[in-house]
Amino acid sequence: MTLHAESSSYRDREARVFYDDAGGVCRALSARALGEWDAMRQTRFFQQAVENGNIVRTEQRPEAEIAPGSDTEQWARMLQHEVIPFVSYPFEWSFGMLQDAALLHLDLLDAALAEDFTLKDGTAYNLQWRGVRPVFIDVISLERHVAGQPWAGYRQFCQMFLYPLLLQAYKNVPFQPWLRGRLEGISPQECWNLMSFRDFFRRGVPSHVFLHAWFQSRRELDGVDSTKALVAAGFRKDQIRANAQGLKRLLRGLRWSPPASAWSEYPEANGYSAADRQQKENFVRSAVHSRHWGLVWDVGCNAGNYSRIAAENSDQVVAFDADPLAIERLYQSLKSNHDSRSAPILPLVNNLVDLSGGLGWRGTERKSLVERGRPELTLCLALVHHLVIGHGVPLRELLTWFAELGTSLVIEFVTKDDPMVQQLLRGRRDNYADYEPAVFDQLLSQMFDVVRSEALASGTRKLYFAKTRMAS
């Protein structure tokens, strides 16, 4: 058995995540962590959370299977985790996704404390998604609570969950670029600096932001063992539970009410006739049902109509859009209309012309989109004109990128006569000589096996189903 260490799993010396040859996810535990795990898996809250799907399913691997240790790390036992279909990061989630992930985190903390366990951190990277359901993945973050100790993860929780959500709810500033810009999130002082006088009177700001920034800035506390002092002052787990419950009330009350964005109104404004829409749905469905697909990407998914069609015959659909509002609406819609017969759809905020590369330690801690899973099928509908004309991506480079991904494509080409393209060209010099149907046809045929193409009745749009030439 060959094991490859997960590059982001290095901070906690009590455990380390590895991948095995078969794509399985394992976690090596130190002797101390094994003791915590043995105690924790007997608890009612843990068993219930696993049963409800709130904590990743985990089993112990045979005793003989131990990951290689090092000078400082010697492993006592290995766990085997359920595989999460597609790894995503908090800077790709919508407002409601971060809010729901935060609430799950607090629910687990509260339930754990009721049985004298706790969460030793508060990072958003400990959560992943099965479709639109958050799942807690770092089982070793749960450990026995030591009486009198405060919650070590409180600041981390504020930085990675609470402040990003406050920023978006109170200031209408999307948090995704902030979380992507610094993986540790927004500091108390930064959050406070972003608040106005009026914001001081909003829920959560005086205590969790203003006071937090003030306490953090007190140099008098440097070198003071605050844990010891709090234990001596009679701190109890009830205070952590009260804080967790207060945070839950605060988070549940947060709303993001943005003005309509260009993209969130797109389904109503996109100018399709009913006949065109039906024809397009039939075309996509026919391609989706031509075989069963593993991972499907729907890039520029907007309301997710075609993601839902892709989910009819695939294992996992990842629906991307650059617009946080479009993804928020899709998330809320999927949450309220969950169809268990379909493949899970994971909505993510991502912009193809502004994708994140590797981030964090060595640039490998948080992986690029492509490293996290290449799609077998990609839907790229009503998007090529935005990328080529709107963002200046050369058509050849765009198709080459798809070809090198090794994905089959359902792709739409919209001619320059179309009102939506006319709108994009307004005020620009048309130097997009490559953006012509004949050039598109030629390039696509060079790089893919075009199975089928069909012009929509309106005459300005053409759909293609093209298969990859890379062996799967």
Binding site: S207, R218, V224, S226, A229
Partner: protein, 51 residues
Amino acid sequence: MQVVSMELVLAYFDPGSGSLVLQSLVGGTAGFMVFGKYLWVFVKDRIRGRK
């Protein structure tokens, strides 16, 4: 007051001294008493000239 010696169990990152103290203030009414006691010990120690 008896001072129990212990480190914050397995904090593999800096939890922030101020963030820990703040938890007494955001932890409900009983927490204010804890904060009061904390403050009293803190001030007493400062007056005695030790940290």
